[in-house]
């Protein structure tokens, strides 16, 4: 049982928790702050691990089941760390009509990853998004933050190969 006045310490003295704490306070330190807090944790730590979720639950005095329920309900939150590189494939309508599926299939074949997964060697995470706002460039992907438009499967595999080998 957690008492209202009990001081809850963050999982570590990592400075990033200070930023998270600011978010919590700004949003009233209560259950209403849950989503904003999770956004803040993910922004600074990249993903939400058990330790972080437990802390958030205690700090906001929200049952763990609720924190977990919210974290898994929203697609934006991820409970696993990502790979070294990420490739986001736009699977919006325009990109689908122009062949996004071929891109997803090509990566599945070569790296054995489906959207939402990370390759076994931890090199590549594949994500899918809905409309990047660049439908004029469909099909579009974002590789490590760089948008590439009008891309075909062969070219995509080449680019990924380059990106992955570059830091090998």
């Amino acid at each position: 049982m957690i008492m209202p006045n009990q001081k809850i310490a963050p999982p570590s003295d990592d400075k990033r928790w200070k930023v998270v704490e600011t978010t919590i306070r700004r949003n009233g330190s209560s259950s209403g702050a849950l989503i904003e807090t999770l956004h803040s944790v993910q922004e600074w730590f990249g993903y939400l691990d058990d330790e972080a979720l437990t802390y958030v639950a205690q700090r906001l005095m929200v049952p763990m089941s609720k924190v977990y329920g919210v974290a898994t309900f929203y697609h934006f939150f991820t409970l696993k760390p990502g790979g070294k590189h990420t490739c986001v494939v736009c699977n919006g309508t325009a990109c689908y009509i122009k062949g996004a599926k071929q891109l997803i299939d090509a990566m599945a074949e070569k790296y054995d990853v489906k959207p939402g997964e990370t390759s076994k060697d931890g090199e590549l995470s594949v994500l899918s998004a809905r409309c990047l706002g660049s439908c004029g460039l469909a099909p579009a992907v974002v590789i490590d933050g760089d948008v590439k438009g009008n891309i075909e499967a062969d070219e995509l595999l080449n680019v990924l190969e380059g990106v992955i080998n570059n830091d090998a």
Binding site: A94, K98, L137
Partner: protein, 548 residues
């Protein structure tokens, strides 16, 4: 500040701007930005310095200019010259652009024809500042009549007079359902409470659309002004913008805009020295389509899982934290300031009998000119696809146009001459939706398109009610079987039956409208289902492959 004082400020800003001989505008909205137009802008500035024109040229980073497929777009107004637009401008072209400012001679190879129907047939209200102003500069907004409507309303009009103008305008919600905005605000105004909320729905869930994002990125103050006017008209005290976390640039620009508007007292306490106070905060969505539904959106702002609840009670009675609330779409709110500024009658003179004003569409798919367009309600699909859109590329033939995203439908050739408004689209078996418009050519398979949208609804179903949770899954399975050439006539019958059940028994709009893409493709392209059942296999998502 009184309206007159604001007018003086605006005039001062306009005069200052007019005293600068040359103006260069670089589009730095999503699509052009992904082609590194921010670097292009920097390079143009550097090159202007080289040719000694940096002092008398103003370079602005502006919002979407519309023709995204020809991006990055740059517009140049050199002294005494007609404005010119340039397309597909790369960093390497920066010296040429600078040179053209210095010499007054056009860069012929890069000219984008602004007399073409793509530009000439549009009519801009919502996007009037898009591609013109710098979103991060509040002075740019003020110089273009910004906050004029708000200042006039709070110092010279009663709240019900503002309401009357909105009602008279005939404005209907642009978030999909087309509910009259005046009516919605009236309901909120009539509900007595000390605390009322205005929420801007910027969750933009249609997976093939980016109108709201472009508005937020290009002209964020317009949304703040619209929300403040809504608050004044209805007696609301606080506002929230619920925006997708996937739109970082829009979030950044909104934050800047809120900060500057508050600093200049267009938001905050005692706005413009009146008794009216209103503040706005941002809440981030987290990637759940169903959170665009208003009761789910409210749950999400309250920090919960975004699941809809039955209505009534409607948000106007019991909304955010149990208080009366109005939820309005971004584009709806973007129309409000111009309506108050120019009058409801002016707005009602544009469009059709029952659909007033303009509509912004994100035009994409198998079409030559992809981008963002704003057209008066009632323009025909043919004019949109063939005149503005420039027709179908690669010598292919038109097959269908999809409107309304996962809640909408596909319309064939025979409906091309129909005027686009809420009611005609509904009659034809689609909906206006939020404004995604995807064109398909003869290489697209309609069963595959139906499957695509069903897959979307299935993965976005919040799982609260069984017809939607189980029904979308089963419909997807059936569509999969049919698309893979393994379907039977019984499967087709079962699919049609499920369409009925899910549409009639789901709790919220997501489930209720999820069969629409299937229904409309069955209505107009039934033969494609039958051909597949007869044994022709069509690989998934393979428009191009089907053709060969």
């Amino acid at each position: 500040m009184t309206p007159d004082e604001l007018m003086d400020v605006a005039q001062g800003l306009q005069e200052k701007d007019a005293s600068i001989p040359n103006h260069v505008r670089v589009c730095t909205a999503a699509s052009c930005l992904s082609l590194k137009s921010d670097e292009l802008a920097k390079q143009i500035k550097a090159e202007l310095k080289e040719v000694g024109k940096d002092k008398d040229t103003k370079v602005r980073c502006v919002g979407c200019m519309g023709l995204c497929s020809a991006g990055p777009l740059v517009s140049v107004e050199a002294e005494d010259q007609k404005p010119v637009m340039y397309q597909k401008v790369t960093v390497e072209n920066a010296p040429q652009i600078a040179e053209s400012v210095a010499s007054g001679k056009k860069v012929k190879d890069l000219v984008c024809d602004t007399d073409s129907p793509f530009f000439a047939r549009q009519q801009k209200i919502v996007l009037e500042n898009s591609g013109i102003i710098d979103a991060d500069d509040i002075n740019d907004y003020i110089a273009n009549d910004g906050y004029q409507a708000l200042m006039t309303a709070i110092s010279e009009m009663q709240p019900n007079e503002v309401l009357d103008e909105i009602t008279k305008s005939g404005l209907r919600g642009r978030g999909g359902a087309g509910f009259p905005t005046g009516l919605k605000w009236n309901m909120l105004a009539k509900t007595p409470s000390d605390t009322k909320y205005i929420i801007c729905n910027a969750d933009e869930g249609d997976p093939g659309a980016f109108m709201d994002r472009a508005i937020l990125e290009s002209d964020p103050h317009r949304i703040l002004e619209g929300m403040a006017l809504a608050a004044y008209a209805t007696g609301a005290t606080e506002g929230f913008i619920y925006v997708r976390a996937e739109y970082p640039l829009a979030i950044k620009r909104l934050k800047t805009a809120i900060r500057l508007a508050t600093k200049n007292n267009f938001l905050g306490s005692n706005i413009g020295g009146t008794k009216f106070s209103f503040s706005i905060d941002i809440r981030l969505g987290a990637g759940a389509f169903v959170c665009g539904e208003e009761t789910a959106l409210i749950a999400s702002i309250e920090g919960k899982r975004g699941q809809p609840r039955p209505r009534p009670p409607f948000p106007a009675e019991k909304g955010l934290w149990g208080q009366p609330t109005s939820i309005n779409n971004v584009e709806t709110l973007a129309n409000v300031a111009p309506i108050v500024r120019k009058g409801g009658e002016w707005f009602a003179s544009i469009g059709t009998n029952k659909s007033k004003g303009t509509k912004v569409f994100a035009l994409a798919g198998k079409i030559n000119n992809t981008g963002l367009i704003e057209v008066p309600m009632g323009l025909s699909l043919r004019e949109i696809v063939f005149d503005i859109g420039g027709g179908i590329p690669d010598g292919q033939e038109f097959k269908a146009v999809q409107t309304g995203g996962p809640s909408g439908g596909c319309l064939p050739e025979e409906h091309l001459d129909m005027g686009v408004d809420y009611d005609s689209l509904r009659t034809a078996g689609s909906i206006m939706g939020s404004g995604g418009m995807i064109v398909m050519d003869k290489t697209s398979n309609m069963v595959d398109v139906a499957r695509f949208f069903m897959e979307f609804c299935m993965s976005e179903s919040c799982g609260k009610c069984i017809p939607c949770r189980v029904g979308t899954y089963q419909m997807h399975e059936l569509l999969n079987r049919i698309a893979e050439g393994e379907g039977t006539m019984e499967d087709l019958a079962k699919l049609e039956e499920l369409c009925e059940v899910v549409a009639n028994t789901s709790l919220c709009g997501l489930g209720q409208t999820s069969p629409n893409p299937v229904r409309s493709t069955l209505r107009y392209f039934r033969h494609e289902y039958l051909e597949l059942i007869d044994g022709k296999h069509i690989p998934a998502g393979a428009g191009q492959e089907v053709a060969s």
